[in-house]
Structure formats: C-alpha cells, structure tokens
Symmetry: C2
Subunit: 557 residues, 2 copies
Amino acid sequence: MNSTSSSSPLRIVIIGGVAGGASAAARARRVNAHAEIIVLEKGPYISFANCGLPYHIGGDIAKRESLLVATPELFQQRFRIEIRTLQEATAIDRNQKSVSVKNHATGETYSLPYDKLVIATGSEPLRPAFYPTQAPNAFQLWTLPDLDRVMSYLNSHAVKHVTVVGAGFVGLETVEQLHRRGVAVDLLERAPQVLGQLDREMAMFVHNELTRHGIKVRVNAELTKFEFDGDRIVALELADGSKLETDMVLIGAGVRPRVELAQAAGIELGTRGVKVNEFMQTNDPNIYAVGDIAEYTHRVTGLPQLLPLAGPANRSGRVAGAHAACGKSEPMGTVLGTAIVRVFELTAACTGFSERLCKLNKIACRSVIIQAAHHASYFPGAKNLTLKLIYAPDSGKILGASAIGAEGVDKRMDVIATAMQFDGTVYDLAEVDLAYAPPYGSAKDPVHMAAFAACNDLDEWPQIVEPDFNLDGYQVVDVRTAKERETLPCVGSIGIPVDEIATRWQELDKTRPTVVVCHSGKRAHVAACWLKGLGFQDVKNLSGGMSIRKLLTPPQS
Amino acid sequence: MNSTSSSSPLRIVIIGGVAGGASAAARARRVNAHAEIIVLEKGPYISFANCGLPYHIGGDIAKRESLLVATPELFQQRFRIEIRTLQEATAIDRNQKSVSVKNHATGETYSLPYDKLVIATGSEPLRPAFYPTQAPNAFQLWTLPDLDRVMSYLNSHAVKHVTVVGAGFVGLETVEQLHRRGVAVDLLERAPQVLGQLDREMAMFVHNELTRHGIKVRVNAELTKFEFDGDRIVALELADGSKLETDMVLIGAGVRPRVELAQAAGIELGTRGVKVNEFMQTNDPNIYAVGDIAEYTHRVTGLPQLLPLAGPANRSGRVAGAHAACGKSEPMGTVLGTAIVRVFELTAACTGFSERLCKLNKIACRSVIIQAAHHASYFPGAKNLTLKLIYAPDSGKILGASAIGAEGVDKRMDVIATAMQFDGTVYDLAEVDLAYAPPYGSAKDPVHMAAFAACNDLDEWPQIVEPDFNLDGYQVVDVRTAKERETLPCVGSIGIPVDEIATRWQELDKTRPTVVVCHSGKRAHVAACWLKGLGFQDVKNLSGGMSIRKLLTPPQS
C-alpha cells in the first residue's frame, strides 16, 4: 500500500474471517487508509453466507458459489486487506503483542506481531460426547466444508431417511430443505418442544406445521446411543428405549463459543463468553472480541449474554474494526436476540424474552396472544397471524414478543424490536403510526391489536388469564356460537353467544369469579367488557381463546 | 338495554359512522355498558372500507360486499349501539346540548339531546370550481355510493379512456385498477411530480413505473376547462393549451375537512381543522372531534396538523370514545403521516417529513439515499429497495423517510416510523436488532445501511452531497467500471475504478474539493474513505450515485 505516513503503519490482526471478522476488517479499512490489516482464517473460506448454508441442501439456493459472499481477492483489491486462509492462530502472546500462526497449507508456523488484535473465532456446534467423528453419515452444518460433506453424501448415496437432532433455527431450516429433496425426516428434540426460543403454545404452531408436512417430530427425545454397520450409523437409540433406523444423521443441537484461544492468553471471560466493553475491547485494551465469542449486553436484563446470530456479529465487528483502527467508534448498543425462521408455509419469529425466559430469570411479566389478519381482511390473500406480546406488569415495558403466520411476521417482529430498543411500553406500541393500505396492513395493525389487548390487561378492563389457566372453580362463559362449542367444547362452560350477552347476562352469577372464552379472545373481550360494566366483580378473558388453549391441553371430550 | 343504573344513562351521540366515528362508538361501549350510544350517519352505510374502494374497480376486491366491514346489525346486536343511517346532523346547539337531525329517508327533522358528542364528519374530495356536477361521466371516489356510480358507469358504457386527475395515493390506486380493467389512462397532476409526499427523485421511480405500464403521466398539468357533448364530458383542456379527449374523468385531487358543522356551533378551529387536546376534546369539553376533521399533533414539528388517513382516524376515535364514555383515556399521541401505496409491481411509502417538506418548514435537515437488496442478495428473489432517510444535522434525529421497491418496503417504513415515535436518531437506527434469516432480510438490513450512511455523513467520513448537487468546479472522481461510465456518463469526471483508487490516487489533486460518484453511492463511499484517509482535504460522496442523479437531470451526452 502507498502510505503517506513515514512511520510504520498500525497493524491490525483479525483472527477469523467470517461475519464479525470480515466486518471488522472492512470497517477498519474505511476509517484508516494507512493501517496494515491482516485476517487469519483457519478454514479455506472467508465471509461465506453461514445463514444460507441449509438453503443449498434443498436447492433454494441452487448454486454453491452464491454462498461465497466476498472473496479474498475482493478484500485484497478493494480494501487492501490481506487474507490468509488455512492459517490458524494457535496462541496469543500479549507481552510480545504477537500471534502464533500455523499455516495448514504449508505446515509452517510463524509469529505475527500486532498493534491491535480482533478475535472473531466464532462458535462450533455442540455434539453428544459419544458423537462418532469417523461415521461417514454423521454431519454437522456450520461451515461451507460441512455443507460440502453433506451435499456430497446426499448426492452419492441413496438416502431415504435423515434424522435431524435439534429443533432450533438451523435444525428447522435443515428439515425443511431435506423435505424439499424428498427425503423422509425424523426430528429429535431433547426439550419438551421445538424452537425453545418461543413459548410452548407458539412453538406448537411450528410443531403442527412440521407434522402437516410429514416430518416426524419427537420431543422429549434424548439420543443416547448410535448403532453402526462398520463405521456407518444405521440406527439411533433414545432414552425411552426406542430405536430409530436412519440413513444419515445431522446434528444441529446448539453451539458453543470458541473461547479457548482468548482464554489461554489470559483474556477475561464472563459467564461463558469473552467479557467486553461497549467498544468490544477485552480486559486487554489492544485486544477485541467480536461475534459469537463476545458477551453482548442484553436489553431486557442489562446483563452480558452470548448470542450466536449474524446481526450482532456484524455490528460488533463494525464497532471493533473502527475502534481498533482509529481509537473511536459508536458503542455496540444492546441486543434483543431477534430471530426468524421459515418452516414450510409458516414463519416464526421472536425478539427479547419469552414468557418462559422471563420466569427463568425471575422477571415479572404478563402476556397476551392475539390473532389477526396480516393485512386488511377484506383484501384478498389475508392470512392469519398470531402475535404474543410479553410486558412488565408495573410499567408496561415490552419484554419480548413472538409471532407466527404465513405473511408479515418479520414486519411485526421488527416493529416490536425497534420499540424495545427504546424501552418502549405497550402504551407506546398502541400509538405507533404504521404504514397502512389494504395490501399491506390494517388501520388497526396486529401490532396495535396486541398492544390494545395488553393495555386492556394492565388496565384490568378486563385482565387476561394465560391460555392454560386452570378454570376449575370459575364461572366460565363461552361466547362462541353453538356450532363452535360443539366442534371444540370448553368443558363446564355456560354458553351465551357474544351478541346475546347484553340481554342474557342475568343467567350468570355476578358475584362469582368469571372467565370468558371464545375462539381467539376477541369476542370474549367484548363480552367481558359487558360483564365488567354490568357490575360483575371479577371477570377475566382467556388469552388467545380456545384456539390457543387447545394447543396446550389434550382434546377434552 | 338492561341498565343496572337507576339514573338515566349517559347519552353519547356520534356524528359520522365511518372510520373514526365507528371506532369511537365501539370503544365507548367497551368502557361503558350503560351509556346510550347513537351514531348519526348521513350516508347509507357505516364503517365501510374507504381504503379498499379503488381496489373494487379492477377486481382486486371482487365482491362489493367485502367492502362493508361492519353492518348496523352487528353494531346493534353486539354493542347495543344504535345506528341511524341517512340521518344528517344539521346543527349543534351547545347550550341545549342537542343536535338537529334531518332524516333523509323520511324527510322529518328532530332534535337529539346529548351528554357527550363526538364529531366525525370526515373529509370531502376537492374539486375544481368548474366541476360539472351534472356530467354523467365525471366522478370522485370517496364513499361507497361514489364507487357504485363509477362501477355502474364502467359496466354500462364502452369506456376506453379515463382521465384521472390527481397523482396522490388514491389517484394512483385508481389508475392501477383502471389499467387492470384494460382501460387506457391519462394521469394529470398539477404539481411537477407524482406523489407529492415523496421527494422528487423517489417519486420518479413511481412515475417511471406508471409509464412502463402504459399510463400517460402528465405533470405540471393544470386542468382549466371541460368540453361537453350535452352533459357528457368529451375532452379536457389544460393550462398549456393542450386538449385531451376522454371518455370519463375521475377526480382525486385531495380532500378538505368537513368542519362546517363544528364551526357553525362555535367550536374552535386551528389552521384548517378542529383544534383538540390530547383526548380529542374541542374547546367544548363535552364535544370531541376525531378523524379527518381533527388536528393531530405531528411528531416532527410538534404542531397541530390535518392528516386524512385511516390509522390516526381509528386511533383518535378510540381515544375520544373512551374519554367520552368514562372520562379517561390514553392520550392520542403524535402522528407521522406514515403512508403506503402499491403502484403495479412497486410499493412506495413514506413517514414523517420529506426533504422538501423540511425545507418548506425551515427545518434543517440532511438526507441519504441507499439501494440494497430487500433480503440476503444470495437468496433467490432478492429485489432492489431504495431507501431515503432524512435527519437533523445536529442531533441526527430522524425527521422522515421514504422507500421504493418491489418487496419489503412496508417493513422498513414501519421500523423507521417506530423509531421516530421515540425521537430516535440515525445512531439508534444503526443498532436496531432486526429479524434476520436469508428469506427475510440481511444481517445488515437496508435500514442499517441507510443509518450507517447517515452516520457517516454526520461524522463527515465522508459527507454526502445531494443527488442533484452542482458538480461544477469540483474534482469529480467516477469509480465505476469503464462500461458503466460509457452507458451513463458522468460528464467532466475522472474515471478510476474503485479497486484501483488505493494505487492510482496520485493521479488526483489532493487539494481540490472532490466528489466521488458511482452507481449507488456504495463504492463511492469506499473510495471516498480511501481519499479522506490519504489526506485529501475535502471529499464528498454523491448520495444515491448516478442511478439517482439520472432521475433528476436530463441524460447527458
């Protein structure tokens, strides 16, 4: 590089060339034309589309080359950044300010001095302790070489059945793509539900969508043993003793941060990842940690937290790259863990904390679930959208949300995530001025409807009770039609259709604690308002109605 | 109604049964089971889908019945709200607290006492002073009877050509639907551009999309005269002397609030609409004004402003309905004027203030335009999205935004509108934690890209200059490829492809004020960073690049 500076340039070494690392390198160059920037990547590729990997399996992303987002040549030519692939950082000497590097292509090792060091070693997939590394038909899916192995096996073997272990985001994307190839799939999940980031009733939509497409979903399914024919896995054994024959196994059961390199160099860790400040600096101010190994600050708790997602990885890389290169940067800000996945015709998304996570963290919360059309219901193509909003009982501050539907799920999640970025309340959310025309939304958007429901709950007009609320001892008023009641009974309830409540309320006991139910909670709200207004002392609305309750309880007869 | 109260119930009279009025009625009932609620609607329908009307013309909404969102029967049965259609409020006696009503069905008049009154008289379309009311082929499109007239004429006449006057939201929706019917359309707009809510370069995308579909768009076109054959319009004359033969005319040139009733009763007006407080109360605390006649508080200016949109109409109705019925409510909050329209394969949307509106209001602003894929570019189906962000030069506070594209426009606008609700800055926007998976977005979403560009501009690393910036006297560096330069030349520029800047910068004069240009501004940003970093004293980036500049300037040869 033609430097105009006479002194030797600042050298920034970046360990890891995917997401956070690549982002740090590009940003460093933009703010410092003179720095020498070197990226060490132990794998053969930099900056590949990790989030796109599953989509190549089923052909959604037809060409493998599409997954190579940026090449070493682009980095070299446009940014004068030196990319050293197949070169692994094996140790960091903080006193000497140098990195020991092993070149896997040549076998040689060398020492690389740095002025500033950015560690972006990322995560690696978790695998059972008894994972058979040698099995030709056991796979993980985290890197491009991982994908190459999967594709090569699928293309050269008569694979009729695959077992996917782990029903998280990557697991679900993989299941969908395998199904697209015409392969039968069993999905094993150790937890009692798929997609642990969602509360159970929301996850049930995903569960049912998988089942509807012929995926055999096994929850509470703990893999205990592989059975082999030679090296090849031929069956799996589960903790309940059941056995599952399969042609291929794909493990997608979460990831762990690769912190060993940082830890060995005496970099301070937090609970599980590397402890960093707002500029992604570690306890050594010349060393930054970004991406999956760094502990971001979670907006809901204010506490440091690992979050292996591409968005925060890129942002943290940007922050560290700028700060390493010129000593200043915008701070990293907080994270919410906003995430989204397509599961056949449905989209599931979440942001912030689920109700379950709130409870685990002893954060007081309340929640509502609403169902609404994703755009004006009178405009053709309106699809049902289910939205859950979780909020603080005192302030109404939004703690999290999740949504499920065929269309418009991403938009609602992004709106709520944006409101959360500003510590917004459900009252704020009720007021957001969203874009409305019939093909896009409703004058009262699902976001508003959820916010209204939450405001009603907080104002106790009326309060809602959770979908699996124990109705024993309550006067339960079912305001659905006779036909709806027949199709999906609400045992022990008194049936008064919503339009008859105002004339037939005397049939009820005003003094008894009462819960009103309908299909989705909307008519029940109207009826509950009537009863409250007519002097009933304790009236509540079943959140989400029978359509949600049925997902949580076995059918009643 | 069976009232448990012994005193005579509160009577709430609502004038106008569409959007705001219907919303007020339903909300009033929810918070007050005892009130007597009467809605006076001078037209034959309540609560119809005003925003859906244009979509019936071309058959997108196939059935007229779909436009009837709620019937008087529903209001009666479910909410015990009395709907009096074809009954017009002709005067308000504030001393007597009564409304004079004319029943258009029977011809009789009567006086209706109220305790609380909600005025929701809405808007009416603006028409030229010389509008021929008697012409059988001149139409407006504001109510369901208006639509019925249009449909009846289209279905019974051989209409081959329609002239739509006014290129605002409703005008554009109407044009699209007429085109769907196979009718040739001329679109006349008095202003120098279509869709005045957008800045000119953004509106040009819409203009070009209309033209691409064979719509003849005439801007700066002032209608001065109609020509008749009997009652029937056969041609139009424009201010420039040109004449346009046509079979039918549809006027959609804006609306005015129907404030006469309120004004005659001594209700205080603001600049053009009714002055209200945060609970939509007028100067008479027993009288509320909601919807298109009420002046909402605009978030950007903090000033009262009319805004004839369905979202705020519904929200203001909700607020007034609750407050009238029980004396308390959440406040109305502010409005942003977020709006959206589909124009053939494109969607155009905006929120807050445009750059032009900022200038008109003497609000200091800066802006950036970026172009990015609406989801991961490596995932099939990625469409280009153009996003303009307008912000304060001192604080970076977001003042407005607009977006154009085939997909994902609504989402980005809603995210920015939500951030604006909290007085968010471009720095805040750069940090929002949005939902990312390849089918939905990018790790760096277009919203982030726009925010990054704005942050760079504010940090002067480098500053941007507006798309139509006068480049005379500047050293202009074009970093596109030779082929791109040939296709769309940037006259007087020096061509150095971005990847050669770091080695060829000595060909340039460091001391001259410099503007870097490329296709969209992205490569120019990289190159401008190089030049700044290499000691160039004054380097700027052309916002939006040549792809936007070409929309604002005639082609250069």
